[in-house]
């Protein structure tokens, strides 16, 4: 049996299993709290796994291992930013958010503000961030199927994108938060087991001598010792000082973006209390941290065992480094059958990874559309719970369909930068609004709206005029050149702009509600009046 057939069989088993869970979840999803927040009945460990499943995208599994395999140490910079970011979520956001919000990020922002403008801004930002992220994942899925299943025809890629899109729509429309969370839990376990297995086999091959593995990786990369230190990909000496500033800009967006990502934030609502939210972030940090340490070994292992040249020939971005490594170590240890089996397992895990992440993003954006824009902006708070859930399901379908269409259109473009752009927008617009809401007494409607739009617009505009959109061979439009700024990552400018807009908007407006601030502060810190878990 070929590895393509075996991967397909394993993947079909995963899909069948998760669909069964989804239909089970759909029978238990009745109220709005069930659909948006899984009835707030997940345990800290379950939600911690789901946090990992939501967060560890194919970009971080295949992408980071690939960057390390091709450019060495620089891939590790990504992992560290992605991990340290969770401390912002743990210390400043998770528990307070759980206590003061209900279903979406906007619940916290609109708590003491004029609800319509703030919910509109937060809804727009949620949908924009989620669609950026979604596009990068779905276009990536189309490319991966070619690499992993040997489907190279244009039609094959289009059908892959449609299939991924339809599955995510089914998970969200029928399973809501319950179904999506379970898909993410199953995926997190598969991903951790798969990554740990390959890591152990690779380390075993080198007699558990990490130094030896690194030495072989550096030698096989053809770049020598430079492979083991920063500088081959980000802020290379050829790019001069702007390249280094770009690296710092990326680092800022990674570390500050996580706690402003809507699909991450809504995970805190799925547990019964703030204390469970704390526990789930603790579990999440442990799982994500261990996972990134595994990808470090996978990346350098791929360079040492497979060789950077072979990896670059299979895919310019190195996305097949981890699967090729699995095949090679399997073959070395257990012969051809072993290679086929391990490659198939890793390929199936990669697809499961994509599905779990896109489902989380679709849920976040459709929840925000239904709860913020439909129920509070269009209906001015007059929608019933039942109407809200119906609208949420319809919007999951519509957003999924839009994402499929956009991904098919964008599949020949290089849209990998959309992931870091999503982080930059989250850090520049959402995070200032959230932190000011929770901690600044004077903060008001004008401040919240200015922070969100200021951060969102400045990040997007800076990227449009950057080398990732035009003016470089790797740009989204390589043949055009309208770039004005030498930075690929807008964070270093757009994050201060977002915070500044929030500050100026606040002090230039007289509005101020001390009573409501007392309520959100007491609620956030004590859990008094916080949403309870549903009891069924």
């Amino acid at each position: 049996m070929s590895h393509e057939t075996l991967s397909t069989i394993l993947f079909v088993i995963f899909v069948a299993g998760t669909l069964a869970i989804t239909f089970w979840a759909s029978r238990n999803t009745k109220s709005a709290s069930d659909f948006y927040a899984g009835g707030r009945s997940f345990s800290g460990l379950q939600n911690g796994l789901a946090i990992g499943g939501d967060y560890m995208s194919a970009a971080s599994f295949l992408g980071i291992a690939g960057i390390i395999a091709l450019s060495g140490y620089d891939g590790f910079l990504y992992s560290i930013g992605f991990l340290v970011a969770w401390l912002v979520a743990l210390l400043l956001v998770a528990e307070l958010m759980r206590n003061s919000g209900k279903y979406t990020m906007a619940d916290v922002l609109a708590f003491r503000m004029s609800p319509r403008p703030v919910r509109t801004a937060a809804g727009v930002s949620t949908i924009v961030v989620s669609i950026f992220y979604l596009l990068a994942q779905m276009v990536g899925a189309g490319a991966l199927v070619g690499l992993l299943l040997g489907v190279h025809s244009a039609a094959g890629k289009v059908w892959t994108i449609i299939a991924v899109g339809l599955l995510m729509i089914i998970y969200v429309v029928f399973g809501g938060m319950k179904g999506t969370t379970w898909v993410q839990i199953v995926k997190a376990v598969m991903l951790m087991v798969g990554a740990a297995l390959i890591t152990l086999l690779v380390l075993g091959k080198f007699g558990f001598n990490l130094s030896g593995l690194l030495g072989d990786a550096a030698a096989a990369s053809g770049k020598g010792e430079a492979f083991l230190k920063p500088g081959l990909k980000y802020g290379t000496d050829a790019q001069g000082v702007w390249g280094k500033i770009d690296l710092i800009s990326l680092g800022l967006a990674l570390v500050l973006g996580t706690a402003g990502l809507p699909h991450v934030l809504i995970r805190f609502y799925t547990v019964p209390t703030a204390r469970d939210a704390r526990k789930s972030v603790m579990w999440g940090i442990g799982i994500i941290g261990v996972f990134y340490l595994l990808t470090l070994v996978l990346g350098f292992g791929a360079a040492a065992v497979v060789g950077s040249k072979t990896i670059a020939e299979a895919d310019k971005a190195g996305n097949t480094a981890a699967p090729l490594l699995a095949q090679q170590v399997g073959q070395d240890l257990f012969g051809d059958v072993g290679g086929t089996v391990l490659l198939a397992v890793i390929a199936a895990v990669a697809f499961a990874t994509i599905l779990a992440v896109v489902a989380g993003l679709t849920l976040a954006s459709s929840s925000s559309f239904a709860h913020d824009l439909y129920a509070h902006v269009f209906k001015r708070g007059g929608a019933t719970e039942r109407q809200e859930v119906v609208v949420a399901r319809i919007s999951a379908f519509v957003i999924g369909a839009v994402a499929i269409a956009l991904s098919i259109f964008a599949q020949s473009l290089n849209v990998a930068f959309l992931v870091s752009l999503a982080f930059a927008v989250a850090a520049s617009g959402n995070l200032p609004a959230i932190l000011y809401s929770l901690f600044w007494k004077r903060f008001n409607t004008a401040g919240a709206v200015s922070a969100i739009y200021g951060g969102l617009v400045s990040a997007v505009v800076l990227v449009i005029f950057s080398p990732v959109v035009s003016g470089a061979p790797t740009a989204m439009f390589p043949d055009a050149d309208f770039h004005l700024i030498p930075l690929s990552n807008p964070g270093i400018f757009s994050i201060p702009i977002g915070f500044l807009c929030g500050y100026l908007g606040t002090i230039l407006s007289k509005e101020h509600n001390a009573e409501k601030y007392a309520e959100i502060e007491v609620r956030a810190l004590t859990g008094l009046g916080a949403e309870k878990a549903s009891s069924h």
Binding site: V84, W86, L91, L228, L247, E521
Partner: protein
């Protein structure tokens, strides 16, 4: 349905000594620690950009400063998360529970939302 609360209840709790103590304990731990771990992370990023020879210096075998520094970021993240959960359990949760329990016993704030 959310029960409509009398907002002055929250203002009274907020003004109380116990709540002020809770807020002080939370902020005086979380804020400086956030500044510290962000500074520690930015130091790592800046050194990765501007001090590459230092980052490339070998410590033992092929293990260099960059790798150890990177792994230390993981270690510090795990330790800070653990320390925060200890701090919260020992210093924050008891006061929060007491304040919430008192208010709910007096039934000033309803059941919350179902």
């Amino acid at each position: 349905m959310t029960v409509q609360h009398d907002p002055s209840v929250y203002e009274r709790i907020q003004a109380g000594e116990q709540f002020q103590e809770l807020r002080r304990r939370y902020r005086s731990w979380a804020f400086p620690m956030t500044v510290a771990f962000l500074a520690w992370y930015l130091l790592y990023v800046v050194l990765s950009g501007f001090a590459r020879d230092f980052m490339g210096a070998k410590l033992f075998g092929n293990i260099n400063v960059a790798l150890v520094f990177g792994v230390l970021q993981f270690v510090s993240t795990f330790l800070i998360a653990w320390a925060y959960s200890r701090h919260a359990a020992a210093k924050l949760d008891p006061i929060a529970d007491e304040l919430r329990g008192e208010a709910e016993r007096r039934d000033e704030v309803g059941e919350g939302a179902k």
